[in-house]
């Protein structure tokens, strides 16, 4: 049994999602290898080699892999699958883009957003926005899984796997990269942050969102999230969206401000350890999942919270 884990990285640093996906791979059992595909892979591979329980780290380097062109990444993985019984891919937007290509080429099912490994062929995954959990058993000879990183603990460091390079496939002829606009932020990554502060439609404008949510997030060293309503209204950028179709987060502390708690939003944050809701509508559904609810207008409550945090030495 051998399992290939696809590393999550930004062509500069290895992301924690990789460690979490390795945990899922170790639960399947057998040898676990990591593939780092992109540019600047040497430093990323060196970090991946330190993850405990990993046999070896493969690197493949090309511009297209660095741009995350699905055809290139998919072809690379399919070419390696002769040596593996399963491939585990972090369920990021990048991973979801190429993973079904691997499954289709291998003529096997993709098992999406796995949250639990029951055995080497049986997995649990959320369906219907997390309102149901499906346990599926795969009869396919090779398994293609995307793994929801928030459902697994990060594998510990302490390994010293060897690093090998493998050839990158040729550039796909029918796709051309034009450009990429990635927002650089000093805040922690939304998917990996220990604390997330999210704002909803109640903010009323992008200016208000920035004025209310961001200082609180900065005070707590938190990532900033948003409900779909806030993103649709243009108060926050699209990659802030927490929910069924946005990012799924499970921080230690999730603070929802002016968010009513639509099913689709709850799907993205209900596995957080502690949930705080601040909303002036005491009947808002968000209070049904909140550990601590404060029924108050955010306009008064957030400045008070800032002062209370300062008074408590946070």
């Amino acid at each position: 049994m051998a399992v290939l884990v696809i590393a999550d990285h930004d062509n500069a640093t290895l992301k924690d999602n990789t460690h979490k996906t390795v945990t899922a791979a170790l639960a399947i059992g057998g040898d676990v290898d990591i593939l780092v595909a992109g540019t600047g892979t040497a430093a990323i591979a060196a970090a991946a080699a330190k993850i405990g329980g990993v046999r070896k780290v493969l690197t493949a380097e090309s511009a297209e892999l660095g741009q995350g062109i699905a055809e290139a990444v998919g072809d690379l993985i399919v070419g390696l699958m002769g040596g593996y019984d399963a491939v585990l891919i972090p369920a990021t937007s990048q991973g979801k883009n190429f993973s079904p290509r691997v499954a289709a080429k291998l003529d096997v099912a993709q098992i999406s957003e796995v949250i639990e490994v029951v055995s080497a062929d049986t997995f649990v995954r959320p369906i219907y926005a997390g309102n149901a959990l499906e346990t599926v058993q795969s009869a396919d000879s090779k398994k293609v899984l995307t793994v929801r990183p928030t459902a697994f603990a990060a594998a510990a460091e302490g390994g010293s796997a060897k690093v090998e390079s493998v050839p990158a496939p040729g550039a796909p002829a029918k796709v051309h990269f034009i450009d990429q606009k990635i927002v650089k932020s000093a805040r922690p990554d939304l998917g990996a942050a220990k604390i997330v502060v999210s704002g909803g439609r109640a903010m009323g404008s992008a200016e208000e969102f920035q004025k209310v949510i961001e200082p609180l997030a900065d005070k707590l060293g938190a990532a900033v999230g948003a409900s779909r309503a806030a993103v649709d209204a243009g108060y926050a950028p699209n990659d802030y969206q927490v929910g069924q179709t946005g990012k799924v987060v499970a921080p230690e502390l999730y603070i929802a401000i002016g968010i009513s708690g639509a099913i689709q939003h709850l799907a993205g944050m209900k596995d957080s350890k502690i949930i705080v809701a601040i909303n002036k509508d005491g009947d808002a559904p968000i209070f049904q999942v909140a550990d601590f609810g404060l029924v108050a207008d955010y306009k008064g409550a957030v400045p008070e919270l800032m002062s209370a945090l300062a008074a408590a030495g946070v």
Partner: protein, 248 residues
């Protein structure tokens, strides 16, 4: 240019799914069903391409039970020209759906397939990518902006941390994200007109596609319930509680 739009009939966006007591699945009896929201966005985009004079024909296709005709009628009322139902009572997996669509595409020869990035029942987010792979067409997923010109589609995609723009040669598969557009409501006259538009029904068996399931559903269960906690009176109380809980 011909655009093919696959659409799926799913539990309505606003209805909370309930797991059946025997753990065999989600109870869909007497539940409101609608077009998958991402499919609606794809139909809207296709109709806009037609209104701009870029597309000449929009064909919607659904794979599902006979009631999926209603979903197809919705697409016709939004502005699709004709519809195809591949009738089956089986609940097909994304790979099988992609194979059925490939068979339909061999008959229809569209220049562009526009579809939702995921269905809100299975939440797989796989069919579009699988279809592109089986066809050996380029893919551009999670589109938030689409322009078609000179045999190419320029697609802005929602990616981790921002936006990416790709240009793909046609024919291609593009999957729609939430912010591609806001779908229209069909007007009453258009709903009436849609009843007269052609809707062709094919049997799944007539397509000669291997649609056998690859996964066995062992069980479907309720997720662990989160219970409501306490209401605090002031922000200071909140901070005290968070300190006690050890998260600050």
């Amino acid at each position: 240019m011909k655009v093919l739009v696959p659409v799926k009939r799913v539990i309505d966006y606003n209805v909370k799914a309930r797991v059946k007591a025997d753990q065999t699945g989600v109870d869909l009896a007497n539940v409101k069903m609608s077009m998958n929201p991402f499919c609606e966005i794809a139909v809207e985009e296709a109709v806009r391409l037609k209104e701009k004079g870029v597309a000449t024909e929009v064909v919607s296709v659904s794979i599902g039970p006979i009631q999926a005709q209603e979903t197809l009628r919705t697409s016709l009322a939004m502005g699709a020209d004709r519809a195809i139902l591949v009738q089956t009572d089986l609940d097909l997996e994304p790979l099988a759906i992609a194979k059925v669509l490939k068979a339909i595409i061999a008959e229809e020869n569209p220049d562009l397939v526009l579809m939702g990035k995921q269905a809100i029942d299975g939440d797989n987010n796989a069919t579009g990518q699988m279809l592109a792979t089986l066809l050996d067409w380029p893919q551009a997923t999670f589109a938030s902006e689409l322009t078609v010109e000179g045999g190419k589609a320029k697609v802005t995609r929602e990616v981790d941390g921002g936006l990416q723009t790709l240009e793909v040669n046609l024919p291609a598969v593009v999957t729609a994200d939430l912010r591609l557009n806001e779908p229209r409501y069909a007007s009453l006259p258009n709903i009436m007109k849609a009843k007269k538009k052609p809707l062709d029904i094919k049997e799944l068996g007539s397509l000669g596609v291997d649609a056998a399931p690859r996964l066995k559903v062992v069980k479907v269960t309720e997720p662990p319930k989160r219970t409501a906690g306490i209401k605090v009176e002031t922000a200071a109380d909140l901070v005290t509680n968070l300190k006690t809980a050890g998260v600050l």
